[in-house]
């Protein structure tokens, strides 16, 4: 099993790159989602105040 993850002497660089890619996308996803939640919360609060 372990030899599958073995990238010769390039372990750090290959897995580092994949890590950068995955972290970037997760970061993007979470910021997009959290900002949407925040905006919806604000709008809901505004509607409640009006009622």
């Amino acid at each position: 099993m372990m030899e599958l993850f073995d990238m010769g002497k390039y372990d750090f660089f290959v897995w580092g790159s994949i890590g950068v890619f995955v972290v970037a996308l997760v970061l993007d996803l979470s910021t997009a989602k959290s900002s949407q939640k925040q905006v919806i919360k604000q709008i809901k609060a505004k509607i409640r105040r009006k009622q």
Binding site: G8, K9, I18, D28, Q36
Partner: protein, 256 residues
């Protein structure tokens, strides 16, 4: 034909854009995740080794799709910028501003993975070669569009039109930058090993397939992320409209 025209008009109005694209989110995310998983597993574990670069070439499966997306997204920003600027279409505004963060992110990923590939191949993390230099300038273009918008945040319509102008200027400028930077390196530097190895880097279908799958996956992910942000943008800027209240109340999750 009629249906296409109708669809086109519907996509131009924020409420129907929101309503229609709401249903695209899940399929896009699932496609993106599935294809990424398939592409990465196949690329990392099953694609054959490169005879020159060994396993290090596997960085290509994230590096090149990110690089393609960085330019593709800027093109979309530029086109939406033109539409925003000329026709003041709200949806184009939303798509433009929603594309900026994800585009900048892909540009940064391209630079970082390029550096991680450069170290084992060129012996240095950073080299002022044409591609890395023009990619860095592309990052500045993204920052410029985002910065322009952020500076006028309290007046979103004006901010969007100025950001659109910046995007259009960048779109005109981009070919000039790329051409001049390539020309600059061609006279000052002997050509180094190209990252993709020209036509030789990818020489078998088993290597190409995961690459194309990853390119597709990043496109789907872009659509997902862009739509999510575009929805947020429309909700925020149209907060006083009736359709927003309805859309928000329908949204599952926190109860009113």
């Amino acid at each position: 034909m009629n249906r296409i025209v109708k669809f086109y008009h519907e996509m131009g109005s924020p409420p129907s854009f929101y309503r229609i694209t709401q249903h695209w989110l899940m399929p896009m995310l699932l496609l993106a995740l599935g294809l990424t998983a398939y592409g990465l597993i196949e690329g990392l574990f099953f694609a054959p080794k490169d005879y020159q670069q060994g396993d290090s070439y596997r960085i290509i499966f994230v590096h090149v799709p990110a690089a393609w997306m960085s330019m593709f997204i800027y093109a979309i920003i530029g086109i939406c910028g033109i539409i925003t600027f000329v026709w003041r279409m709200k949806v184009a505004e939303a798509v433009m501003m929603a594309s900026v963060p994800i585009g900048a992110l892909f540009t940064a990923v391209t630079l970082l993975t390029g550096m991680l590939w450069g170290k084992p191949m060129w012996g240095t993390y950073w080299d002022w070669d044409a591609r890395m230099t023009s990619q860095l300038i592309l990052l500045f273009l993204y920052i410029g569009v985002a910065g322009m918008y952020a500076a006028y945040e309290e007046d979103p319509r004006k901010a969007a039109r100025l950001a659109a102008l910046v995007a259009i200027i960048g779109l005109v400028n981009l070919p000039i930058i790329r051409y001049s930077v390539y020309w600059w390196t061609s006279i000052h530097q002997t050509s180094s090993i190209t990252l993709t190895g020209g036509s030789e880097g990818i020489h078998s279908w088993d290597m190409l397939r995961p690459l194309l799958v990853m390119a597709l996956a990043t496109k789907f992910y872009y659509i997902y992320s862009m739509l999510t942000r575009a929805h947020t943008y429309l909700l925020k800027t149209e907060a006083k409209k009736q359709w927003v209240a309805q859309a928000v109340s329908k949204k599952s999750g926190a109860k009113p």
